[in-house]
């Protein structure tokens, strides 16, 4: 029986830039940063109070796929093809203001939906996330 999800991975175009984005712009904490080879690292981050769930910032390496597939994947990521998940917060307007002030790009400002209030933002690679405050806004 599956009891928990501990890791999820998303593809980033540049691990160094992604690390900067996730730590400085989102305020995440680094859990593991292990060099794997000359260029790539096993790099996981999490929101500050959620250490039991790690987000793996995965580089796109030619050795993983064919060269063509790797190039295609890079293109798809940067085009904003992949929606990765939903983050929740206590107060979406404050979080939206703060993230905007830090230079995070929102593709949709907070909007009331039937399940709460939701905004959409992109990471530095092009992956997008929903930011939500669930329940009555």
């Amino acid at each position: 029986m599956i009891t928990k999800m501990t890791h999820t991975s998303l593809y980033v175009l540049d691990q160094g830039k992604a690390l900067d984005f996730y730590t400085h712009k989102l305020g995440f904490r680094v859990i593991t940063d292990v060099p794997m080879n000359k260029n790539d690292r096993w790099l996981t981050v999490c929101p500050p109070d959620m250490e039991d769930f790690q987000i793996v910032l995965m580089p796109i390496m030619d050795s993983m796929f064919s060269k063509e597939t790797a190039a295609l994947l890079r293109e798809l990521v940067s085009k904003g093809t992949f929606g990765v998940g939903i983050f929740t917060c206590h107060d979406i307007y404050a979080t939206y203001e703060e993230m905007s002030a830090r230079g995070v790009e929102f593709t949709k400002p907070p909007k009331k939906e039937f399940y709460g209030t939701e905004a959409i933002f992109k990471d530095d690679s092009g992956n997008w996330f929903s930011l939500a405050q669930l329940g009555e806004p």
Binding site: H7, D40, W42, S63, H90, Y93, A94
Partner: protein
């Protein structure tokens, strides 16, 4: 919209809704948008100020003044958004930075002053209360971990990823 005792605290006078549609729209904007934008902006600026200046001796009264709030009101609104008072939040930021510095191998005393504490014993006590470990033990553990990772990095990566992603072939 934030309400205090059912009232919008940022509107000094309770103006009755006007009758013309355009004015009704503007009135709605005042009720809805004004607090959302300016109210949040001031609180967020205060938080960002703490994020930037945590290492200095921060006077929280000053922050409240800068944000144009009375001290009591400021603390209450800050807490409603961040679930911590400004003081608790400042301590949390300092502790987070301290963890980072200790992880990097900075000595305890240097770390203590670098994140804005003036007394090592105060710093150590708070650190232990929040993390369960004294700063010196945390520092030692992190350095041991780094050494083990240096010696056998692959034992810290789930095998599934290492194999599937072709890491072991390089």
């Amino acid at each position: 919209m934030i309400l205090v005792n059912g009232q919008n605290p940022l509107l000094l006078v309770n103006i009755p809704p006007p009758e013309m549609p355009v004015l009704q729209y503007l009135y709605g904007m005042m009720q809805e948008q004004y607090p959302k934008i300016y109210f949040y902006r001031r609180l967020v600026q205060a938080k960002l100020f703490i994020d930037t200046h945590y290492a200095e001796s921060i006077d929280l009264d000053n922050i409240a003044n800068e944000a144009c709030f009375s001290k009591f009101h400021f603390i209450r609104q800050f807490k409603s958004i961040y679930r911590k008072t400004p003081h608790q939040y400042l301590i949390a930021v300092r502790m987070e930075k301290a963890r980072e510095l200790l992880k990097k191998g900075h000595p305890v005393t240097d770390t203590c002053y670098a994140v804005g504490f003036e007394s090592v014993s105060t710093f150590s006590g708070l650190f232990k209360r929040l993390t369960g470990l004294s700063p010196s033990l945390y520092l030692a553990q992190q350095q041991q971990l780094k050494e083990r990772i240096r010696q056998s990095p692959f034992s810290y990566v789930p095998g599934c990823f290492a194999h599937q992603k072709g890491w072991l072939q390089e």
